[in-house]
Amino acid sequence: MEREVRVWDNLKRDTEERMKKVAHLVEEGKVVKAENTVALLEGVIKPGDKVNLEGNNQKQADFLAECLCEVDPKKIYDLHMVQSVVSLKSHLDVFEKGIAKKLDFSFSGPQAGRLADFVRDGKLELGAIHTYLELFGRYYADLVPKVALIVAFEADKEGNLYTGFNTEDTPIIVEATKFKQGIVIAQVNKIVDKVPRVDIPADWVDFVIQSPKNFYIEPLFTRDPGLITDTQILMGMMALKGVYAEYGVQSMNHGIGFFTAAIELMLPTYAEELGLKGKICSYFALNPHPTMIPAIESGWVKNIHCFGGELGMEKYVAARSDVFFIGPDGTLRSNRAYSQAAGHYAMDMFIGGTLQIDKYGNSSTATANRVAGFGGAPNMGCDAKGRRHSSDAWLKCGLEYGMQEALLGKMPRGKKLVVQMQETFKEKMDPAFVDELDAWKLQKNANLDIPPVMVYSDDVTHYITEEGIAYFHKCVDMKEKMAAIRAIAGYTEIGLQAKEEETMDLRKRGIVKTPEDLGIDVTRANRSMLAAKNIKELVEWSGGLYNPPARFRNW
């Protein structure tokens, strides 16, 4: 019998061919000069390739992104970009120029409006908007990058990389690319003789380029305590008393906004007064939020694992190795994938803000004309169904779950706390509670398969507005959930539909609690509650170790 001879290493042969074409561009070791970057990209990338451009809501491979925009669109076109975020102008310029065609991503901040225009005008074919681990997972299934354009602080000539404080997404991208015979190109701030620590080993990296200027990092997680409002303080007090204390929540992820910044700054004050020290907030999956400094310094926190770095927090974090994850070289190693995994499986609570909540309790930050995705923290706004270990908070929330028996029969199971905070009205009298989410309009405008919902109603356990807390998970059906939403929706159209007796009944049964029900003195909700009232006081708390970026230095 004759057997067909099949080739099983096409990917490897293809890569070898590409590598040969650019061999002449390599100086010593794996070093390519910055001015040869465009030629390198034109040599290793082929039309239709899946290309990963590293960048997240923190660090950016900005030089490689700009170089990719300069390749000849006659030679390189129809690229399928797979990347965590779309946040630089260049990220969309590659589509404008016809170099790239399709996009799969997770988050777009500043470019969200332009991205929506591109989708509508047919300049860009949108694959899907993902949560982070979901996108990372697809790097190992149907979205394996052929070429990864990544970023590190330092490299040696052999290609060992130091990603340090801002390691973030790099390991998971490089592993997917390199082990499927792909090509890894790194831009670095500096080529050195010896890196402080090897974050990515040299044989996983094909080329290193010293970029003309240091890569861009966005200080996305810095919140100036000076901007925290009394309403945010009130809602923070409600959260601490009605959720943190009520469930004894020990492990959590905090969202990025002012609500959680207020909570962080009230741990050494209000939470201390409530006698909660040691009983809540010991473990975090969290970026190095500057607003955590007073709580850390007051001995509240045992452990923080970071998704990424935060500009200005390098020295402070390095000096607190009992709390943060510090390498043998003395600097932090962040890792977005691991922190996300911890956020899903090891944390009892996700708490953060949202923008819009519909009458069913679905919430989204999507607006009609911005394809924004969902950022880091909201990725964890769900109950990871694979969880099997128990904790007090998780068990209590499960015991209270109104639909538990309908779904499981008589079987105990815990539930992760997913807490959404939102004032009933946003600026300019824009109501936060709506009949239908703007996500539906966006679905039409951007031609998406489904409306981009950030947190689904069946994952939310608690909604907090200035009117009260809805213990949403206690509801037995959608009818009751809708009544609970109305009860805390204030003077919005949705809130005005609340029926007095229905709301009273929910309050009696502990499904809705007002600040008064919680025993909170509303008059105390003012800025004297905050352990630090401005950035300068955060610097003082840190003993001078926190070095805020210039734009936050207003003294």
């Binding site: 009394d230 009130l234 004032e423 009933t424 300019k428 009298m429 200035e466 204030g490 003077y491 909700a525």
Partner: protein, 110 residues
């Protein structure tokens, strides 16, 4: 900018005025407001005057103010609100804070 003036009058059962003769809370910063409360002999009634640059939300103002006055059984009281685009959230909170401030009995001798 033309300012919108709203006036509301109430008469509740067993009305309560404030402890102080006169009380003031808040600043007319952007998105905020000031609340002035003054004890008045209105024969048990309460009067509320709102000055706001916002138009089209008279109904919401009425609901916020009504809930506050009725919920706290207020009477023999003049409330003046000078608003600068505060949301109902902020209005409700400032009113509650203003009432608490107006009911603080000054302690002497410390």
């Amino acid at each position: 900018m033309a300012l919108n003036e709203l006036n509301f009058k109430y008469k509740v059962e067993n009305p309560q005025s404030i402890a102080k003769e006169y009380s003031h809370l808040g600043v007319v910063g952007s998105g905020d407001l000031e609340v002035l409360m003054e004890k008045k002999d209105f024969g048990g009634g309460a009067e509320v005057k709102v000055v706001t640059p916002v138009t089209g939300f008279d109904k919401v103002w009425e609901m916020v103010v009504t809930k506050f006055v009725k919920g706290n059984n207020l009477g023999d009281l003049l409330i003046e609100i000078n608003d600068n685009n505060a949301t109902p959230v902020v209005v409700s909170m400032r009113l509650r804070q203003a009432l608490a401030e107006a009911n603080k009995i000054e302690k002497g001798g410390e």
